[in-house]
Structures are given as C-alpha cells and as structure tokens.
C-alpha cells in the first residue's frame, strides 16, 4: 500500500517527528511504500542541516535523510512554511526538497492513506 505522511511539528520539541519516523520505518519493513513525507508548520525544521543534537541523542534530521537515501522516500518541505521559519535551499539537509502545498494535496489524492503527525 502507498502511504503519505504529514509532519506538522519540528524535531525534539514534540514527539510527532519521532512517531512519524518510526511509523515510516515499520511501514517500509512491512513492504508498504511511503509515497511522500510532507513537512508543514514547524515540521519544516526537520529539514535543517544546521541541526546538531548532543552525541548521545538521536539525530532526527540525519535519520530522515537516510530514509530518503535508503528507500527513495520523497521528503518535501512546504516552501511558504519554510521561508517563514528560515529554511532555505542553503541550509536544507540532503534528501529533502522544497516545494509547494500542492504536493500535500497531491499526496492526499495519490496515496492510499494519509497519516498526520502533529501536536
């Protein structure tokens, strides 16, 4: 099955991004496809390559990047929400791309399911 994901919160403050990641990992392990992960609201902060968590903590941003590399998951950051919060191509982590809200609507039309993670 083709599953779309919406992430509405940034990393570390809320568990939303962790839950979304664990869900994606489990879905892929079960043989499903993650059609796209769309980052909206503060969720765009998941895409900042300037993120540097302490050594003993998970690196949420790198984890998403690796998911994109290993499973060709399309990680899309909303342009309007990103610009509001200072996320631009110059500080975008690998595997992410910046695009419009249309990508979220497309996800909701094309994917078999859409699961939202937020606050």
């Amino acid at each position: 099955m083709n599953i779309g994901i919406l992430v509405n919160e940034g990393p570390y403050t809320h568990e939303a991004s962790d839950s979304a990641y664990q869900f994606c990992k489990a879905a892929l392990a079960a043989g499903h496809q993650i059609q796209r992960v769309f980052f909206y609201h503060d969720g765009v902060n998941n895409a900042s390559r300037l993120t540097e968590p302490p050594q003993d903590d998970r690196n949420i941003v790198n984890r998403w990047s690796k998911l994109a590399t290993d499973h060709k998951v399309d990680l899309v950051v909303c342009v309007a929400a990103a610009l509001r919060r200072g996320i631009k191509d110059e500080n975008l982590a690998p595997g992410f791309r910046i695009s419009g809200l249309g990508q979220l609507i497309e996800s909701s039309i094309q994917a078999d399911r859409l699961v939202t993670f937020g606050d």
Partner: protein
Amino acid sequence: MGEGTVKKIMYVNRKAPYGTIYALESLEVVLIAAAFDQDVSLVFMDDGVYQLKKGHQTKGIEVKNFQPTYRALDDYDVNKLYVEKEALEARGLSEADMCVPVEVKSAAEIGKLMEEQDVLLSF
C-alpha cells in the same frame, strides 16, 4: 489513482486563531486545495469554532487578520463548512456569530461525515 480522481477530503480545524499558527496555515492549504477540484469540506470543532467568530480586530497584536479569507472560500467553490453544535454551546456562541454561512452539526453527525471521507487532514 489516475487523472480526474475526485476524493472526499475533509479539513478538520480544532484550534483557536492567533494563539498558534495552525488556523492560518490550514487555511492556506485549503486555498491551494481548491485548485485541485476535489470534494472538499471543512469542519470546525472545539476551539476551531473561534476561527469563524465574527469581528476579528488584530491591529493591536500586529498580526494579519485572516478572517476575510474565510469569506473568500465560496469564490473557490469551497462551501461545505460544518460547525460543531456542542462546541458553539460550550463557548456561548451561536450560528449568528459565524462570519460565513455554515451548517451546524452535532459531534456525532460530524463523526458520521468523517467516516465517509477518503482523506482527513488536521493541523
């Protein structure tokens, strides 16, 4: 899903305006979605009903008043707006306080509508 697929998409608004950005950014999604010719509906539950309370005056907080945008939704053929009855009552509001025409429904009726959707988006 091929070209021309029409899905039933419901936007669920449960948060008050201004205190957080969710109401504004959700509205931005709805406006973009209107271009995709889907079967769109909006529901306002819990504090979400405050988004439609007439008479927002945001000058004093220096934040953009986005209430006029709700009135523009009809121009985009987004005209299925449902407001939760219990939420209005709990907040001392009535249908007359709403800035746009809405249909008032009970939480259970809204729940029934939710069952009929292909996609539910909440922010």
